[in-house]
Symmetry: C2
Subunit: 396 residues, 2 copies
């Protein structure tokens, strides 16, 4: 009956994340910083009281999907479209630069081409979760900057998925199957274009059923099921689950309209109802994700004296930061300060980075020192990214 | 990255439970019936698409703890106290009768004394979850009947825990350690008397912190953490986790007052806020528990032709039902119809029954036929209990 171990762990996790999140927030930093630190503190790095079991991992996944759902729900699709070009430019530069710089740095340190390419790819993926959570903690939602970053982060994730599939194929087979890569890329694109419409149609059905339901709680359960289904579809076609959450959220935002929506007022009331029902659920699950990110890292295993490690960490951290930070500079129409802010906002790495690094290790390409170096790079960037972003967004 | 399997399973589970729950409700039955049927349908008995993994089991446990939290929150401690004596009488008769009848039935069928005792104990435990959910589905909350049943079901659970510890000791060692049994019994009692007060004090602290919190969502996360902590404490001292949920809920009800509560109005607003924040979370998790109960049963493994099985199932079902149904009859102050209703309300078996049966099997006391018979008895009683109760509570 060992359920109580899990109940303790969950209670401890929720309380600690809350306390450290609150501390971070009171010190003026985004709460997400406190939550990642909670993971480092309770995980194997320090106290070792929390193990990332399948249960915890799943709860965290649901958490980040729900975060993206909330962000989708509070997004205005018109605003996103208006910043589409800037977002695309930011994402493209922000993928190419870390790729080139990272490759160069690895070659400089004597790694072979395949490994260098895989490390460079690992450096490309912005953490959509950490970035958007930080912006939301800093009360930046639906501003020109946040909308551009949101568009860029999503495009960045899609590029990341395609890059991952390319590099992994290349690393394993030494050749590239362009057809399969195009298939993955286009199905992700089609999913992303069609799913909000599909989700909206389903939501309209839910709304009509909700009026006649005999048992309470339809809105929250049906909305959550909708989000889970779209997250699962996203994973099946090879995209991160959180994109499914975002698509479902976008569909259930006030600003998303499709031709069948004639009863605008009833729709608006329903959207508001969904928002209110999902809020406590999201607030409960989301911090679990960030704690799990922190607890997935084991700093206690690191040989801190290794000179190779030091060289790798220093060079990769610098290229990892530089590649993103200057990515906003080519956006000539924006004021200088905003161009820097955009780049800094794309700096955080997280879940996708971990997936890349883990793939490199499990495929035998990354040895332990390289893997450890990447984890340290992630920790450093992840901890300073929210601080830098907060500093840039501070009222002058 | 096989998370999408779990996302699918969870989405499928939530949607199916909702659809079958809705169907049951429209046909006039409690929704919980549809949810248990969902488990039988999706679990190994029929389709086999849902496995009761650790994750699902934990989510279900959280669900039943939250159900008891909600029931605690909507309970009036004065009303419970008023029905304390009736509840105690109902619980005692409802434990002694199935124990005696079940023992007699087993002996009649030729089982040895130890096994007969263990089977008889298995028959004693009312399912607090199914019973209270059925009453709540039938809109029976805070009525004399529901309060008596609630008190009786809780006392029944405490007696069940003590009986379990006694019988198990006896079965394994052939002797009984009275000191240890008394220790378990009294710590459960002390927990139950002190925990609502402790929970209320913590809740008052939470309320004061909530006013100054910098990040949203404190009420839901802190309340959930409180519930989880009390559930975990209950498990640690040897009581079912759901008792901890109930104690925390009782502490956060409108009617629970302790000397330090001077700011009644602020307290009332806070209690209401907790109720609203926890509602969507509870509605999400609770059905998972009942689906898990259904999915824990594998009807496909049963040899339906065995005459021993048939005899066991028939006799144990009859004694299991009779032992509870007549338990309300000695309550001389109640009208006849209500006495029958009280007994029928105590009929449902569920989680504790499964724990007993599983313990009997794993300790080698129950062979496969006996275990299977018990599972069938549970399925039959569980499926007819909500139907009978609904029929008794129907306006004449």
């Amino acid at each position: 009956m060992g359920t109580h171990d899990l109940l303790w762990q969950l209670a401890l996790l929720i309380i600690s994340a809350r306390v450290l999140g609150e501390c971070a927030s009171r010190l003026g930093y985004p709460a997400v910083l406190g939550e990642i630190l909670t993971g480092l503190l309770l995980g194997p790095s320090l106290l070792g009281v929390i193990q990332v079991t399948e249960t915890l991992h799943t709860l965290g996944q649901i958490g980040v999907v729900l975060l993206l759902f909330r962000i989708g729900q509070s997004s205005d699709i018109q605003h996103l479209r208006r910043h589409g070009k800037a977002g695309l430019a930011l994402a493209t530069t922000g993928v190419i630069l870390p790729l080139a710089l990272g490759f160069w740095a690895c070659r400089l340190l004597g790694l072979n081409e395949t490994i260098a390419l895989m490390v460079a790819c690992t450096l490309t993926a912005t953490s959509i979760g950490i970035t958007l959570r930080t912006l939301s903690d800093l009360k930046q939602t639906d501003t020109p900057i946040s909308n551009t970053v949101l568009t860029a982060a999503i495009l960045d994730d899609i590029m990341g998925v395609i890059l991952l599939s390319l590099t992994y194929q290349f690393a394993v087979t030494n050749s590239i199957d362009l057809v399969q890569t195009l298939a993955v890329g286009s199905s992700v694109l089609v999913f992303f274009l069609l799913s909000p419409i599909a989700a909206r149609i389903i939501a309209t059905l839910i709304r009509h059923v909700a009026d006649t339901s005999h048992i309470p709680g339809l809105t929250s359960t049906a909305s959550l099921a909708l989000v889970l289904v779209f997250a699962a579809i996203a994973e099946v076609i090879g995209a991160p689950a959180l994109l499914g959450g975002f698509a479902a959220g976008l569909a259930l935002s006030h600003h998303f309209m499709i031709p069948i929506d004639l009863e605008t007022e009833a729709e608006d009331r329903f959207v508001e109802k969904v928002r209110q029902a999902m809020h406590p659920i999201e607030q409960l699950f989301t911090p679990i994700f960030f704690v799990v990110v922190g607890a997935s890292i084991d700093l206690s295993q690191i040989e801190w004296q290794s000179p190779t490690l030091l060289a790798l960490v220093t060079l990769l951290t610098l290229t990892g930061i530089a590649g993103k930070v200057v990515a906003g500079l080519p956006l000539l129409r924006w004021p200088w300060r905003d161009r820097w802010t955009l780049g800094i906002a794309m700096m955080a790495r997280g879940e996708v980075f971990l997936v890349f690094a883990e793939l490199g290790r499990s495929s035998g390409l990354f040895d332990n020192t390289l893997y450890t170096a990447l984890i340290l790079v992630m920790v450093i960037i992840t901890l300073i990214a929210p601080i830098c972003l907060k500093w840039m967004l501070k009222p002058a």
